[in-house]
Amino acid sequence: MVSELFGDLEGRFVEAGQPLVVIRHPLKKKEIIENILRQILYLFQAPEKAKYFFALDIQSRIDKKGARSVIIRPGDEVLTMSLMKRDTPVFYDGREGVIHSIYFEPRVSVDKGEPLIGVCPEEKLPLIQKVITRVKAEWDARQ
């Protein structure tokens, strides 16, 4: 929603970067949970701007059991990076854990440094579930 409009600038020459309008985006429940998760999970980032796909083995395990049942370990080939018709396997280098969140779509480019997956150590899954439940409960209570 528009929270502030700099009407006095109307019709005037302004420099690049000059604020014209302030837009506030009230976070939704899902976005709040996602922001919290991004601080808790180990975020495995894109090494280059490219398109990413799960490695065949990982994809078939995700298809069978769901991502949150797939445990990955350091050194595992988890993704394939596709850039300019060159395919490169991408090896996981974080802590062992389950693939909790997937931040990419297979056919959409991901910028360098953007998270590809969020990984959670298995033993911390109940804690994360607790956080999510609490956010949901507080959110619902305020509505």
Binding site: E48, K49, A50, K51, S82, L83, M84, K85, R86, D87, T88, P89, F91, P106, R107, S109
Partner: protein, 320 residues
Amino acid sequence: MPASEKQQVAPSPSLCTPAELHAYLRNYERPYRAAYYGDAAHQIMRYGAIVGSRISHYRSLPRAMDYARQLIDTWEKGKISPISGTIITADQLTGARGRFTRSWHAPPGGLWGVLVLVNTLLPASRRLLPIAMGITGWETVQLYGVQRATIRWVNDVMIGARKLAGFLAYSFVGANGSGEEYDLLGFGVNVNNREFPHHLQDHATSLGEEVGDAIELSEFACRFFAKLSFNIGLLYSHEHDVQHERADADTSHPLISRLREASGFIGRRVRYGHDVEKAPRYEAVAAGIDHDGGLRLRLDEGIELVEQSGEIRYLDENGG
């Protein structure tokens, strides 16, 4: 490896030996490049000299890329440093594949193989390896007077709607703890093989068919490797020039300028997708190439997108 397969992959006399390649580089490629690049040609060719430092030829291989990986694995396990610039070729590939699950027909008569590079390029240069392959194919075909040849982004060499050469690139890290990065650059050029399976007949052509005569395959191989040597050298040389502030990283790489020259796609209406045959995403007009090789696509609404991977197919009257 089964005994029958071992027999199949027995080495055979090379199409072009390293000594023949060296002579070709000295007698033909260097004078030709010097006319355009001047003194810089010498530096570029020194950088590219690793290409073809070892050339192995086989009567038949299942798939050259897979064989190269096995070879690297064997070398690493034996504590032998893989030789960067190794070229592996075969008269025929019995299990050749294109991208995704596409088949690639590789019978005797074509130039089939792979170049093995131990990576020492920075990411900005490394990303252009597939483009260097396409330019190499296009330049070699030009030597035979086939002026109609063009490149379809990223690196397919086309004659009209038919594909004459295709290239694949695969990068990986050695599996034996060496930490070494490798690039496998696969090449497939239809040279004298004029018969294609039914499903490829309208989509493939060969150099022999285009010039109406048989091509001397050994000579073609030497010419192709010489151009490959130069274009790989160009990647290293340009990187060196950027690092020493003799070239600007934000302006077009010489290979990108060459791609624009060879382009058969700029200004044409295309269908785009990562696997465009199975999962096309949208249609647009190919508006140009960014300085880093990305394809600029203009949607009907006027919005421009830049794609860094994926592939295109032509939609206009010339097909392809």
